[in-house]
Symmetry: C2
Subunit: 109 residues, 2 copies
């Protein structure tokens, strides 16, 4: 991931509706959720939420797959990982000691 792909991902996650939707999808990996279920959870109009979903998809954070009439949405954990690596990269390379507490916490699981 470079700055050109990190920016859309960060922008996609910087909206409450989209961040909640993405986190909901992460919690529902690997089965995913239909667009309709996400719309219901958001409380927004179907058209409004569809636009938000398109932002997440364009950023590569969500992949979708047609299943009958429904569109199944799934979080792309690889993109999330790449984004986190991008954010951590600079301090890891320049000052590894700064990242130790970061990694210590991340290895919680």
């Amino acid at each position: 991931m470079n700055i050109g792909s990190a920016l859309p991902a960060l922008a996609a996650l910087s909206h409450p509706t989209r961040l909640e939707a993405f986190r909901l999808l992460v919690r529902h990996e690997p089965e995913g959720l239909s667009t309709g279920e996400l719309v219901d959870a958001s409380g927004l109009t179907q058209s409004t939420f569809s636009t938000h979903l398109a932002v997440l998809a364009k950023a590569g954070l969500v992949k979708s797959e047609k299943q009958g009439r429904q569109q199944i949405q799934r979080a792309d954990i690889d993109t999330l990982r790449d984004l986190m690596l991008f954010l951590a990269k600079d301090c890891c390379q320049g000052h590894p000691e700064l990242c130790e507490p970061l990694l210590a916490e991340l290895t919680c699981c």
Copy 2:
């Protein structure tokens, strides 16, 4: 970190000027850089950049300290770590196996 503090952090980092400034500060830890040096690096007007810096500060990603006439800016690695933990939390808790490749990459340093 909760969603209320993650959102401003993500929004702060979702702008090219602010993301670059933050990464520059990370690379200059722990000495920091003066606001003027950051302004020069950004290529923007001093007033415009000052507004961007205020967004990063309000999100807790940058701390500043007065040093004579200058204001020394420093990246807050703890906030960055908290943000990354927040993003990773859901998949770590629900599906630890999803986080293993993520952590494997992060332990590069």
